[in-house]
């Protein structure tokens, strides 16, 4: 599969998925930059990866587990301290639904 030409609508879709409000000039610039990058990474298509597993962690390693015991967590007022808007109980946000 050769690298897809990225149409503006494709980049606009990616911007929506990324939750980024981008203007038309930036979308056009991104389409250009991403097109060049995708042309470059297209060479990966030529690599024989038959029977090669994806690499997930550099070392074979079982992450240690801890006991399922509750421990002190970040106090509420500390967690809220940097919030742009809060009511001492929760973060205040615009309409979700």
């Amino acid at each position: 599969m050769s690298s897809p030409r990225l149409a503006l609508s494709d980049v606009a879709h990616l911007a929506r998925l990324s939750r980024l409000a981008l203007g038309p000039d930036e979308l056009a610039a991104l389409a250009h930059d991403l097109g060049a990058i995708l042309d470059y990474v297209a060479e990966l298509e030529t690599v024989d990866v038959t029977d090669v597993p994806p690499m997930v962690h550099p070392l074979p390693f079982d992450a240690p587990l801890r006991a399922d015991e509750a421990a002190p967590a970040l106090p509420r007022e500390v967690a809220l301290a940097a919030a742009p808007a809060h009511d001492d109980q929760a973060f205040l946000v615009p309409r979700v639904l």
């Binding site: 897809p4 939750r19 060049a36 990058i37 990966l44 919030a83 742009p84 979700v96």
Partner: protein, 493 residues
């Protein structure tokens, strides 16, 4: 270049000796660094924040405890700068981004907590490419940093501020983060030692995440011995980082010779695109190794040519996921524009808060993970990553370390590569493979081109930091590149 000798010790080892003998107080040492920062950082742009009160208070406490005969940690009184990608409790941490402007972490990264427990003095937070995405420090949302060796040149990136700070004597050591080369390459450009530890060697807790299967915190310092001292303090398993390895922190090796060391040189790293002066300096370094008893043999890492492509698919994919947390809800920037709903809040906040390079990488990463493209891009890149790792495993069956240039060229000019993102990505061609494989790698000074430092990269198998540091230390005892200093930085007008 003839610089009048400065009586202030400018390595950690020399400073420890001066502090222990009473020739110098920690307060005077730290005050000296703060003074240099005040006079020179307007020109250099190495720091985004400093903590003079906290630093002097820590220093005075170290002096008091030393005078009282109390035990002190191995870095007692030593001024260390911390990259702004790494959380410091009570000290503003931005990751070089406007989206975190003014954010004050409520906790220390584990690496920072360990420095504090070793009685180090955290002197300030250093400048960097935004969210560690860059190779020149030019994508910092705040200002670029300058290379102390030539002020029209970049210090490298993304840990450019950390490297500039140590090279200019504004701190005796620094922490950076290395995802695709961001500790090693700035160390190379600034004539310093920089280590990317084996993945899992140093806890990532409190290191603001860029690409979680690559990120490592690493030291930047003037000498292998200094870098080893810092690594010994920060390394080791951490219950707060499930990917951290149970291996004990590496102990400092001293005075090893290079005799018996088998050094591999991959043909793929010395060819077109590498500056002739860089090639010559690396070959000269290899001659020093051989004279001291090492054997140098050719090796092959045939999948090297795919490394950049693999990296820029995997790292951006991981970044697109990691940076989803910057949503304006709980911390950092939130758009002031009135919005209709939360989706619009996210989209405006993030577009306002992230710079162009970060936006570019998020979109590229989203693409690599998106339905219809995941198998062809992300998953395929993960498989090629395994092949790159197997190249290293095969080579390390025959050699102990692999030697390469750290960068194909010395520090480039400010503005030279900003217009071409792909050209900037290709600057990482020699550092990225070790990041993909998760192995240990360091850079040490090995020469100069036109007055600009050249770095030699030594790559070793996982957990081989002791041998890499011993080799770099032995090499430094036989050479003097690491002893040169840049001309004094002019004070800002």
């Amino acid at each position: 270049m003839a610089t009048p000798p400065d009586p202030t010790p400018d390595t950690i080892v020399a400073a420890r000796a001066a502090l222990a003998s009473g020739a110098l107080t920690a307060e005077a040492l730290v005050a000296g660094c703060l003074d240099r920062i005040a006079r020179l950082d307007g020109t250099l742009g190495a720091f985004l924040a400093t903590d003079p009160e906290g630093a002097l208070a820590t220093a005075r406490d170290v002096d008091r405890r030393r005078a009282a005969g109390e035990p002190l940690g191995p870095l007692a009184g030593i001024p260390i700068a911390v990259k702004d990608q790494i959380c410091t409790r009570g000290l503003a941490t931005t990751a070089g981004s406007k989206i975190l402007a003014g954010w004050v972490p409520p906790y220390d990264a584990t690496a920072v907590a360990r420095l504090r427990a070793a009685d180090a003095v955290i002197i300030g937070k250093t400048n960097q490419d935004e969210f560690a995405m860059g190779s020149s420090n030019e994508s910092s949302a705040f200002r670029p940093a300058k290379n102390p060796w030539a002020l029209d040149r970049v210090p490298g990136g993304s840990s450019g501020g950390s490297a500039a700070a140590v090279a200019a004597g504004l701190a005796l050591g620094a922490l950076g983060t290395d995802t695709g080369g961001s500790v090693r390459q700035p160390a190379s450009f600034c004539g310093l030692v920089g280590i990317k530890p084996t993945y899992g060697r140093v806890s990532r807790y409190g290191a603001i995440a860029y690409a979680s299967s690559f990120d490592q915190i690493g030291p930047i310092a003037r000498t292998a011995e200094d870098a080893a001292l810092i690594l010994a303090v920060i390394a080791g398993q951490d219950p707060l980082d499930a990917t951290s390895l149970p291996t004990p922190a590496p102990l400092l090796p001293l005075g090893a010779s290079l005799g018996g060391l088998r050094v591999g040189v991959p043909a793929e790293y010395l060819g077109d695109g590498v500056s002739p002066a860089v090639q010559a300096a690396v070959r000269q370094a290899l001659a020093v190794f051989e004279d001291d008893g090492a054997t140098v043999v050719p090796v092959s890492l045939p999948h090297t040519r795919y490394a950049i492509a693999v990296y820029y698919l995997l790292a951006t994919a991981e970044a697109s996921s990691n940076l989803a947390r910057y949503d304006g809800l709980r911390y950092g920037h939130r758009t002031a524009t009135p919005v209709g709903d939360i989706a619009e809040l996210y989209a405006r906040t993030r577009a306002e808060g992230f710079g162009p390079e970060v936006r570019r990488r998020i979109v590229l990463g989203t693409f690599a993970l998106s339905a219809g493209y995941y198998d062809a891009y992300y998953e395929r890149a993960q498989r090629v990553r395994t092949l790159i790792r197997r190249d290293f495993d095969r080579a390390f069956a025959d050699v102990d370390v692999i030697a390469t240039p750290t960068s194909p060229y010395v520090a480039f000019a400010l503005g030279e590569k900003v217009a071409d993102p792909l050209a900037m990505y290709l600057a990482d061609v020699f550092t990225v493979p070790a990041s993909l494989a998760g192995v240990a790698a360091l850079s040490t000074p090995c020469g100069f081109e036109g007055g600009l430092p050249i770095g030699l990269q030594l790559i070793g198998p996982p957990l081989s930091e002791p041998r890499l540091l011993a080799a770099a230390d032995a090499y430094q005892r036989l050479t003097d590149h690491h002893l040169r200093r840049p001309a004094p930085t002019p004070e800002a007008a």
